[in-house]
Symmetry: C2
Subunit: 132 residues, 2 copies
């Protein structure tokens, strides 16, 4: 079992409400839910914790996922295909897990991640306590 600052600390959030842009007529099952199920099955025990989220607010460019973990930058990626990008997302998650601060060098990221990063947010800012 993986322990410490490896993939066990990593959350892979998957937007369940995403519809993939361009799918007409809308599918009965939202593409985000399909992506979640595929990632949850494929992640395996050494992979990230796959967590369903109601909406990551990237509705114009779904499907959408986010990677986060303690002490790490959070990254949001969009324009994902619910079948074709499952391996890509898990590859990107593994690289993210291998970087202690979540900062994967740009050239080492999957190409889809390079082109479809929606936003990133830094780890919590240290607060300097004033002496009483």
């Amino acid at each position: 079992m993986t322990t410490g600052r490896g993939a066990a600390d990593i959350e892979l959030l998957v937007c369940m409400t995403c519809r993939r842009a361009g799918v007409e007529p809308p599918a009965d099952t939202r593409e985000g839910a399909t992506l979640f199920a595929a990632l949850a099955e494929a992640a395996g025990p050494d992979g990230p914790r796959v967590v369903p989220v109601e909406c990551l607010s990237n509705c114009r460019a779904g499907c959408t996922v986010a990677l986060r973990g303690p002490g790490r930058w959070t990254y949001v990626y969009g324009a994902l295909h619910e079948v074709e990008h499952v391996a890509t997302v898990l590859d990107g998650a593994a690289r993210y897990a291998a970087a202690p601060d979540g900062l994967v060098p740009w050239r080492e990221r999957p190409e889809h991640f390079r082109r479809n990063c929606v936003a990133r947010v830094p780890p919590p800012t240290p607060v300097l306590e004033k002496p009483e």
Copy 2:
């Protein structure tokens, strides 16, 4: 001094590297840095903690800010003007601070926030510890 779960807990992250879309030729000072300075000055002691960030990775639609706080959803907003939207951002931050989970009803958000939410990320997922 504000204590507890009020604005003192809120971080308003401001991307310092943002250039506002459509500014030609590029300004000597990046619009993100101008927005940060304006927000830091205007926030006041009861406002959010204004934190400079190197890049929030919303480079196509700057300027960009993010709101976050303990136990709250994190929201990223883009397409901000470094002068015209200072009051809008602080208004949105105050409404965010007033919502314990950071979820401000859609109709109560500033109109710019409604139209320019780039992404949101939930608060940390509770981990259920297994008994040993």
